[in-house]
């Protein structure tokens, strides 16, 4: 490891712009975790970041060989500072799925930072990021999709949505595209909002207490991040439990 990698980032590093650097200093340097999916193989991983306190920072470096499939799901909800960075490099016709939800309250700072590189033609990447933020929590998604020269047939999608339960909470979202190929399909959507007041009244008017009505709507909101996952039910129920605590 070189010295540059060891030196602490600053706010001028784009990937650390919204990070809690004081908390990060306690766990720096972050040792990258290498994951390699061999050609034609299919693998899945669920990460539940539920640290009781303190700072957690992880960096996953994923390499997908040709025709490899990797399904990554992240539930980011613990610690004062929880950062999960994913660097994925996609070979020819590889398929990468990232479904992530981050649920924060109090003064929590949670972030998901991704760099997905389509290094060869015909690879597919799908990212669905959902954040629910209460109190003074901050939730950030920085996601860069880079399409290398000649990676024609690239199909990439980023869907980023955040729900603020309090006006004091903060959501940052920056989906980013860097494209050096002509024949590509790169979609990205981003929205930050609040729970629909009319929807809540509708549910409450049928007998649901306000917390239950909110929980039901939020559960639906984050469901897409875990839909189709091998551990969908487990992730949903952990998320639901956390939502119950937040409301």
């Amino acid at each position: 490891m070189n010295l540059a990698a060891l030196s602490m980032p600053t706010k001028s590093d784009e990937a650390f712009r919204y990070a809690d650097l004081t908390a990060l200093a306690g766990v720096w340097p972050v040792e990258p975790e290498e994951i390699t999916v061999p050609a034609g193989a299919s693998e899945a991983l669920s990460i539940v970041q539920d640290a009781a306190s303190g700072a957690v920072a992880r960096q996953l470096v994923v390499t997908l060989a040709a025709d490899a499939i990797f399904d990554l799901r992240i539930l980011n909800l613990g610690g004062a500072y929880g950062r999960i960075a994913v660097d994925a490099r996609l070979g020819e016709a590889a398929q990468f799925t990232l479904g992530a939800a981050q649920l924060g309250s109090g003064d929590q700072v949670l972030e998901i930072v991704t760099q997905v590189t389509h290094a060869a033609p015909d690879a597919v990447s799908r990212q669905v990021i959902r954040s629910v933020l209460a109190g003074h929590a901050t939730g950030t998604y920085l996601g860069k999709v880079a399409v290398a020269r000649g990676s024609n047939g690239t199909d990439s999608e980023q869907s980023v949505r955040a729900m603020l339960l309090d006006r004091t909470a903060t959501a940052n979202a920056k989906p980013e595209l860097e494209i050096f190929a002509d024949d590509v399909k790169c979609a990205h959507g981003c929205a930050v909002g609040e729970l629909d007041a009319m929807g809540l009244f509708y549910l409450e008017s049928r007998g649901l207490p306000p917390e239950e009505a909110k929980k039901l709507m939020l559960q639906a909101f984050i469901a897409e991040a875990f839909s189709g996952a091998a551990e969908e039910e487990k992730l949903q129920s952990l998320a639901l439990k956390r939502l119950g605590d937040m409301l």
Binding site: A197, L203, S205, R206, G207, L208, P209
Partner: protein
Amino acid sequence: MANDYSGMTVNERLFGAGLLDDYDRTRAQGDLTKLNELLAKVGLRFENGSHWDLDPSFYMLNINNLHATVADKPILKGLSLTINAGEVHAIMGPNGAGKSTLGYVLGGRPGYEVTGGDVTFDGTDLLALAPHERAAAGLFLGFQYPVEIPGVSFVQFLREALNSQRKARGQAPLSGGEFLKLAREKAALLRMDMDMLKRPVNVGFSGGEKKRAEMVQMGILDPTLAILDETDSGLDIDALRICGEGINAIMRKPDKAVLLITHYQRLLDYVKPDFVHVLAGGRIIKTGGPELALQLEEEGYEAVA
């Protein structure tokens, strides 16, 4: 028999029930027995030269001099209305009269602020209850524009809603099987495919399907008082008949009551009201029987009011 009522309130009560003319006639005849029979219908009794309250919980719903604002704009301006168990009331009125506001105020929608008057439902102060508590107390508000809730299925939502209501009433929750049986039965009553109830709430439903789904929900939740805000709007002729028959099957019972908010006579062909009220300028300005709705249809609000 706590309160001595002023003549004004007595008149409002009688007027609200469409009995004011009968009362005047009977009083002129001096028949005290007949007078008290009449007054009992509005929860009052005449004795020693005064009107007395029989029982504050006499009415299922008692709206008394209700004032409400939306975004600081006064909409309801002294609305009084009483509904007994077993009755169907229809409220008609021009656009902007305050019909939907009345429904929302009774349902407890945030932003609809009550600035005066009171409302009791089965003797309890309705306005002091949160929306979900009103539901548990037996109130159902049918929406003019049912809301779409993506990602939440009808079945999941309704089971949770029903069991929340049951919990609040000290009843045991329904199991998944029991609930599905009930839902299937009510869906069949409204000729709705059970598969539609497995879909997200109102998402992708046509206007008519949404209204039918409202009636299915009413059947499942089994309220004592249903306030149905323009349930007939957006319905074709067949769906109108199905909804009308559904309302009768679910709500036409001695211990239940319905308040229909509508623009048109056509729903009233299927659900015969006992009383028809005209709401204009935030108040009930005329009350009559079913014939009043026909007269309104013929002559319009301006002529009748």
